[in-house]
Amino acid sequence: MAKRVLMTGNEALGEGAIRGGCDCYFGYPITPQNELTAYMARHMPDHDRTFIQSESEIAAINMVFGASVAGARSMTSSSSPGVSLKQEGMSYLAGCCLPALIVNVMRAGPGLGDITPSQADYFQATRGGGHGDYRTVVLTPATVQEMHDFAAEAFDIADRYRNPVMILTDGRLGQMMEPLTLWDKEAAPPAKPWALTGAAKRIKRTIRSYYAGRVPENNARIQATLRKIEQNEVRFETYMMDDADIMLVAFGTAARLCRGAVDCVRADGIRAGLLRPQTVWPFPHEAIAGYCDQLKTVLTVEMNAGQMVEDVRLAVEGRTPVRFYGTIGGDVPSVADVVEQIRLLTTGSES
């Protein structure tokens, strides 16, 4: 096994992005992702790459847009209120078919809320918080290793489809340290025959989402790409699902807790299992649907008031009861809390 190092999730993500070939990072301070910005401030210059602390989140996402236009692998990171400010820019990235990486280290909202961990930006991330028909590929790491790996891979996905990719995580994963093995592949960005480089020896190129009278065409092109992504990029992991009759569905921090809870209740003979989406868009609808026959219940666990549970319901379509357990406003359930929920379900009285 390669040497393991200990890093915070935020720093591991930053290092992953650098190894994934990130050319330009633009960001504005906000807790709980400041370690990521600081990491990039320290390390991007070492690699002769661009780091800018921008004047605002809006400037950052539009700098990302510009760098991407020019062919760079570019990224920004922020946390919930800052990501809300980026919604127009994200819609422009999607509308102009530009690859980019956006990181949301979620905190409690709405409003200023608190800097405590949360998963309450799920809808915003998966449904396009910006205007218009678009989607962002949304990766949801659950370990520091995945923070690192997903960041490195995100650029490949973004470039492959010319579509923005988001990493959706929270302050607990961002600020905890865990061992990880560093990515050691060579970043290999594809040629970008659409990028703006100056039109020497060729006809000019234009990057735009506005085409008088031809916006439906542009939309159709985007929709076709999204269908491809849905086919190819769904990622998830299952745990103890072979004989499970109760399936937990959870992502990120909540999924870790659920895994712990599955271990606990298995010890008591409860046949619980876990399906952990690693992408929440595209969402593992089919995988979930595939388990319906063997299940008595589905329990969705989220650190929000019930968001991903809609995707679970859309997957299950009434074939199995779908229950929800969530904590709001920055509270994080303990493993014991989840265990209790499972027990309640399996003994009949439900939450």
């Binding site: 050319d23 330009c24 633009f26 661009t50 800018i52 921008s54 004047e55 605002s56 809006i58 400037a59 950052a60 539009n62 700098m63 990302v64 847009f65 510009g66 760098a67 991407s68 236009v69 020019a70 062919g71 760079a72 570019s74 127009e88 820019g89 422009y92 102009c96 703006l196 480089t197 100056g198 039109a199 020497a200 020896k201 000019k204 190129r205 234009t206 990057i207 735009r208 989402s209 506005y210 008088a212």
Partner: protein, 249 residues
């Protein structure tokens, strides 16, 4: 017998009719930019950023690589482009709503960082594209759809003078205001745009030319009156001058 061409349509201007209203300043400046691209041999390395405003489809008129930008954010987009491609010639074109209202933060910060690109700022004292609303630069008393009884400075504020704001910053290399008030003003404007371009080519950092420009449609005048209005009224509030010029240094 033979002919010497004294003026021909610039190569860098596409051979299509522009959608601007008759007498619009955008057309004049587009033409000047295209002439300078030809004269300074910039076409091949230019990456332009179009604003959201009447000139939103500037990319259909210049024969250069060009991108869209969200309303007001062209300077941030240009920053991303130029940092990744320092050898590109980066041209930002913005209207007064785009640059001085929604986008004032981005332009001030790009200027303050001394980003090495050139901003051409079309100040026509109005929001043209959306149908003639009050701009940050609308003159006191000027009637627009959102100042139907004339801009009242007591509640709507005064016209914003961007060059004066840029001039409080350390980094910009070239700051000038000029006007499209006559053929002479247009020639002068071209000279100043050339200087701004030269500043970028020499790597001197942020350069900007603010151009007082006619919008006959929403100034509610014919094109000839609009040009005279620029000189008589607009330039009275917005003094035409070179605020800073480090190209000589």
């Amino acid at each position: 017998m033979s002919e010497i061409a004294l003026y021909t349509r610039p190569q860098s201007l596409e051979d299509v009719s522009m959608h601007y209203c008759p007498g619009c300043g955008h057309g004049i400046v587009h033409k000047l930019i295209a002439e300078l691209m030809d004269e300074m041999d910039l076409r091949d390395k230019t990456v332009a950023v179009a604003p959201v405003g009447c000139s939103v489809i500037a990319y259909e008129y210049w024969d250069v690589d060009c991108t869209e930008a969200a309303h007001g954010r062209a300077p941030a987009v240009a920053t991303g482009i130029k940092r990744f491609r320092p050898d590109a010639f980066v041209l930002v074109y913005q209207g007064d709503g785009d640059l001085a209202s929604i986008g004032i933060a981005e332009t001030i910060y790009a200027a303050n960082r001394g980003e090495n690109f050139t901003t051409i700022f079309i100040n026509n004292t109005i929001y043209g594209m959306t149908g003639g609303q009050m701009a940050p630069t609308t003159l006191p008393g000027q009637v627009t759809t959102t100042s139907p009884t004339g801009r009242d400075v007591a509640t709507m504020g005064y016209p914003i003078r961007m060059c004066e704001i840029y001039d409080t910053l350390e980094a910009p290399s070239f700051i000038a205001r000029t006007m499209l008030d006559s053929p002479g003003g247009i020639r002068k404007t071209k000279t100043l745009i050339r200087k701004a371009f030269e500043a970028q080519v020499a790597g001197q950092g942020f350069s900007v030319v603010e151009i007082l420009s006619p919008c006959p449609t929403y100034m509610r005048m014919d094109p000839i009156q609009a040009m005279k209005h620029i000189k008589d009224k607009v330039s009275e509030y917005f003094p035409v001058k070179i605020f800073r010029d480090r190209t000589a240094e």
